[in-house]
Symmetry: C2
Subunit: 371 residues, 2 copies
């Protein structure tokens, strides 16, 4: 088995073109990871996820620890086998989910205790425990436990929270057992405060991780603040390690973040939008419920080679949306993932050709956020 590795091949200014090797194969970067929260990329079969160009998926420790439980997944041969995905899997630490159900959770130095959103049962998540769970899942890339602050938050609160996250990062690192092909990423916290973010990054690099994530963004701070932070943090991050912007984002967010040196993303948007009749196309976002698609014999995107666009017209997709047919969610989720992967592929090619600015300009001239 190969070592976990990030190979940086090319760049175009700050934008980076690389490849990540894991225990379950490689994926090209910049990469978009499809979200498979409960061990399923919602509404899409693994073969079809693969057909969208997706190489790495993300799954959620919080959901899996509650159902079906890490012991069960381990006993059944690990997450890859359980959900029939033989490629790389990254798992988050569960911290974000446990925290986002604020009323149900409390934080101490030790970790997070929370009540299950399913049955109210009590659980706890410590740095050591999340690492152990992710090992049981057999996740290729594990994430440290972190505390995510909401937005806006006073600086002192952001600082205290960040310092706790750094102590948890240290404990996560110590709990993580090195195995060939497996990686542990640290998560930079500190809200929108650049100096806190810099401190956080410095602490993480002194601990040493296989990759560095920027957490706690895309929570309402706005694209401008996000880009500004990424732009300033990028040059300070170790160039030889992958950089992962968690939970981001819309197509324009991805382009702006890649431009500023990010290598990895995950977001529920393509699949969640697919389940709510929203589609992404080169021309922009499309609401399939809109009556103007009622008799439209054209595909969603005439240049798209996905299964949905090759086989169905907008009028049919509109019909599935209006009649609330499951097939609508299936076809749109698949198309949206394909759109996202095409976008990433376009960015990768643009970096190779050192034409990223052209790529961005062309995207902006074609893409309308609502049409």
């Amino acid at each position: 088995m190969a070592n976990f590795n990030f190979q940086l091949n090319k760049n175009d200014r700050a934008a980076r073109r690389g490849k990540i090797t894991t225990a379950h194969g490689t994926f090209e970067t910049p990469a978009f990871m499809a979200v498979g929260t409960a061990a399923t990329v919602k509404a899409v079969k693994p073969d079809d996820v693969r057909a969208t160009g997706t190489e790495c998926i993300l799954s959620n420790t919080y959901h899996l620890m509650l159902r079906p439980g890490p012991e069960r997944i381990e006993m059944l041969g690990g997450l890859h086998k359980f959900m029939n995905w033989d490629g790389p899997i990254l798992t988050d630490s569960g911290g974000f989910q446990a925290m986002s159900l604020k009323k149900l959770s409390t934080v101490s130095e030790e970790g997070i205790t929370f009540k299950s959103h399913i049955d109210g049962s009590k659980h706890s998540l410590t740095p050591e425990k999340t690492i152990e769970i992710q090992r049981m899942l057999n996740s290729d890339i594990s994430m440290v436990l972190d505390e995510c602050t909401s937005f806006p938050v006073p600086k002192e609160e952001a600082a205290q929270s960040m310092r706790l996250s750094m102590r948890w990062a240290q404990r996560s690192r110590e709990a993580f057992t090195e195995r060939k092909g497996y990686a542990l990423f640290g998560i930079i916290q500190g809200g929108i405060y650049l100096d806190l973010r810099k401190q956080s990054l410095a602490e993480l690099t002194s601990i040493g991780f296989d990759g560095y994530a920027i957490g706690g963004l895309a929570v309402g701070e706005g694209q401008k603040n996000m880009f500004s932070l990424v732009e300033k943090l990028g040059p300070l991050m170790p160039p030889e390690k992958p950089r992962y912007l968690m939970g981001v984002g819309k197509p324009e967010d991805l382009i702006g973040a890649v431009k500023r040196g990010i290598d990895m993303f995950d977001c529920v948007l393509p699949t969640r939008s697919g389940r709510t009749n929203q589609a992404f196309t080169r021309m922009g976002e499309v609401n399939l419920r809109n009556a103007r698609h009622r008799s439209d014999s054209n595909p969603l995107d005439p240049h798209c080679i996905c299964y949905t666009c090759q086989n169905f017209c907008r009028a049919y997709l509109h019909h599935l949306a209006i009649t609330k047919e499951i097939l609508g969610a299936v076809l749109l989720s698949q198309h949206n993932l394909h759109y996202y992967q095409e976008l990433m592929c376009g960015m990768r090619k643009a970096i190779e050709a050192k034409e990223f600015s052209n790529f961005e300009a062309e995207f902006k001239s074609n893409y309308r956020t609502k049409r």
Copy 2:
């Protein structure tokens, strides 16, 4: 284009082995048609429907006339193109659905008037209109408009209803435009009263149809009554025309009806069960929500070659059921259709080998209705 044709190749006592040719290709009989009510076999992509062994699908005139409307489907190139199914399609006449919403419909000599279950708008369905709609859909096999009585119903009521259906059958036949490869089936009515059924059959054969359906069964009369009627009607039906038992049924219903000379079936059971976490296997019916599957690393059916059984264990399907993930409906619907088509394939082979009794005995020794 070939003529519509029923080729009867072999038989084993009353059981028949044949092939039907339509404007959109052929299908082997005895055949099970997957139900695609609103121009979609619920939760299954057309390619995957094909992969289950399904050769012919059924779609519902009632649903399609309300949404998206026959004019729209015709304008978009017909139902085959609209839903991306290039094989044979049979459409029912809409009578059953319009009637089954009893409170919203009234029947006259002219036809059925009803209120839409969607928006309460008023619609009517006459024999002429349902034939016209089915032509606009470009259905390979159209059905006459009929009135379905509920069960139980007094004989005089059943008789009056049947006579009305026969007048409608005559008008449907007159309204139907002969086109090469396209067919019109008559529907035998008369409740559970054999003499009424015989009268109905005699009237239909004197009008002359491309096939004969038995309607108004599987509405609560019980398997024994159904088999008894089918057994007595079979020998009276024109042997050179296909026989279609509408809306049937469970695996044991299909076997018993094929044994008594039926060639075609449709039923929502495999897909509806798939959406409610029920699976059909050689060993019987399986409820995936049952906790005993929680840690089961075996597939649903170890001998099944469908996508679901080849790639996922029961524990995973249980997990999808418990978490109410769309993928659960997708995988189980596909498996159940595959099971039904395997069952039909087994019956076809058994008839060819004149071993149908053995087939039936083996089925009964393996199959448990709940396990």
